[in-house]
């Protein structure tokens, strides 16, 4: 009962708020785990930055809302969304069928593939080639899902993808699976790792994998605003410019 009254009050508040604040911008808070360069990470001034952040900021400008980014740990990022700590998650979240059961997704804004990083000199054609070996990934990412799908390898999960790479560097695991943009950062652009790792394989999945903005299941208002922004960004070709800026000439 109390919940119903609360909901009614909330609706009244929203309607009144909308009436009062005609012309005043809606602020949407995005949670982001800023440990996933170049998509979203902390720069030297401790500001959240990256491709996704620029993308959503541009989208916000196009659709006429204010985007606020809130640093959140990946563990529990969806729990926080469910609990209403923030309006949306903008943290390289891949759109999957499982996730769609508990949350709603915006239009996709970036296509991603799962890359398998292995020590240099090691050649693999499929994950199956690593049968019986440990393969690392960041916990509850699509990388982990890809590893777990291949039953012959042992899945090992880490809190941060960087820790998985460190274990690969120390020779404790045979490979790391993560999003291709992150993989190329680690494998090619890090002085410590470059020359030691290569991207051995990009997993060809049956369905293409996309990043989307996750919102609470019945939050149509935020979803509509975000989608409007994404559509405008794509139409104006801002996304191409951002890709140039953050990933270089790649793709």
């Amino acid at each position: 009962m109390a919940k119903k009254i609360l909901a009614a009050l909330l609706i009244v508040a929203v309607v009144c708020g909308a009436a009062f604040a005609a012309g005043k911008k809606r602020t949407i808070t995005f949670a982001t785990d800023a440990t996933w360069p170049p998509m979203e990470f902390m720069d030297a001034k401790k500001q959240i930055t990256g491709f996704s952040i620029d993308y959503m900021t541009a989208a916000a400008k196009e659709a006429g809302f204010d985007a606020k980014f809130q640093a959140t740990a990946w563990d529990g990022i969806f729990g926080g969304l469910e609990a209403g700590q923030y309006d949306a998650v903008c943290s390289s979240v891949s759109i999957t069928e499982e996730r769609k059961k508990t949350m709603a997704f915006s239009e996709p804004y970036y296509q991603v593939k799962q890359a398998v990083v292995v020590p240099k000199g090691k050649k693999i054609k499929a994950l199956k080639d690593l049968a019986g070996k440990d393969v690392g990934s960041q916990i509850s990412t699509t990388g982990t899902f890809a590893v777990q799908e291949e039953k012959s390898v042992k899945s090992k999960t880490y809190d941060d993808v960087g820790l998985a790479f460190e274990d690969l560097y120390n020779g404790r695991i045979a490979a790391v699976v993560c999003d291709d943009v992150v993989a190329s950062q680690y494998a090619l652009r890090t002085p410590k790792y470059s020359g030691k790792f290569v991207i051995g394989l990009v997993i060809q999945s049956k369905t293409a994998e996309y990043y989307g903005i996750a919102v609470k299941k019945d939050n149509a208002e935020v979803l509509a605003l975000v989608n409007k922004g994404i559509a405008a960004v794509k139409k104006k070709g801002i996304d191409k410019k951002l890709q140039q800026k953050w990933m270089g000439g790649k793709k």
Binding site: F41, K46, A71, A73, G76, E82, G84, D159
Partner: protein, 262 residues
């Protein structure tokens, strides 16, 4: 003969046997030396700029860790005092409530409590990360402190209470003026231990995105890709803070124990 006498007097004046205070100082310096050596080896064998950059990046995380630790210590001490008093209370309801609190909180890992207060409770009351962290840590450590306080109070001889009651003090006066001051001396070493445990456990709050040392380290290692160096730095920073804390506790013990040295 005269010269000999002088020598004897000189030896007697000098501090040949180190006092307890001196030995404490030695220990602290030894550990600090090991810490410094640790840092130095890291600096020499790896890229010093990475450490420097990392330290600059971590600096505000150190401040947050301090904030969380100190605020939690204060709250936990207050909670602990009341829980300890509650445990020895003669009123059944209070004693039962206090022991239930201790049993429940002590049985749940701090990490789970953090998740619970931030995410589960977040459905009803929105508490920002930093206060959530302080609340969770205070509640958790309040239970441990409560047990220490209880043990301290119970360690004071019954005769003390009986004597002060027969002097005409009432129960609360007895507790405040006679039992607690004496118990404090017994309590201090384990409380100091809890301080240090709390400081280190505060690294758990990084899981709810409080920008403490560990959280900053994760961010730094993810952008710089220097994982090993970052965590070496974290270890050294924690070690140094712990040393400072244990020194403070040591000084407090020294002060309180002064008249009671055996």
């Amino acid at each position: 003969m005269k010269e000999n006498q002088k020598t004897v007097i000189d030896v007697g004046d000098g501090a040949a046997i180190p006092t307890r205070k001196d030995r404490d100082l030695f220990t602290a310096w030894r550990i600090a030396f090991v810490g410094a050596l640790f840092a130095l080896v890291g600096l020499v064998s790896f890229n010093p700029e990475v450490y420097w950059e990392g330290l600059k990046y971590l600096s505000d995380g150190v401040l947050i860790t301090f904030q969380v630790t100190l605020a939690s210590i204060l709250c936990a001490l207050i909670i602990g005092l009341f829980v300890g008093l509650g445990r020895v209370s003669r009123i059944r309801v209070i004693a039962l409530a206090a022991s239930t609190y201790v049993e429940v909180i002590r049985g749940i890992p701090l990490l789970v409590q953090l998740f619970y207060i931030y995410y589960a409770l977040g459905q009803f009351v929105k508490i920002p990360p930093l206060p959530s962290a302080i609340i969770a840590m205070s509640i958790c450590y309040g239970a441990y402190m409560g047990e220490i306080f209880r043990a301290g109070i119970e360690s004071i001889d019954k005769g003390q209470t009986e004597a002060s009651l027969s002097l005409g003090m009432n129960r609360s006066e007895t507790m405040i003026y006679v039992v607690l001051p004496q118990a404090l001396r017994t309590i201090l070493p384990p409380v100091g231990n809890e301080f240090i445990a709390l400081l280190k456990d505060s690294s758990l709050v990084s899981i709810i995105a409080v920008a403490d040392i560990l959280r900053r380290a994760r961010e730094f290692s993810s952008t710089s890709f220097y994982v090993f160096e970052t965590y070496t730095l974290v270890a050294v920073v924690y070690l140094l803070i712990t040393l400072i804390l244990s020194k403070i506790v040591g000084v407090m013990e020294e002060r309180l124990g002064q008249h009671e040295r055996r």
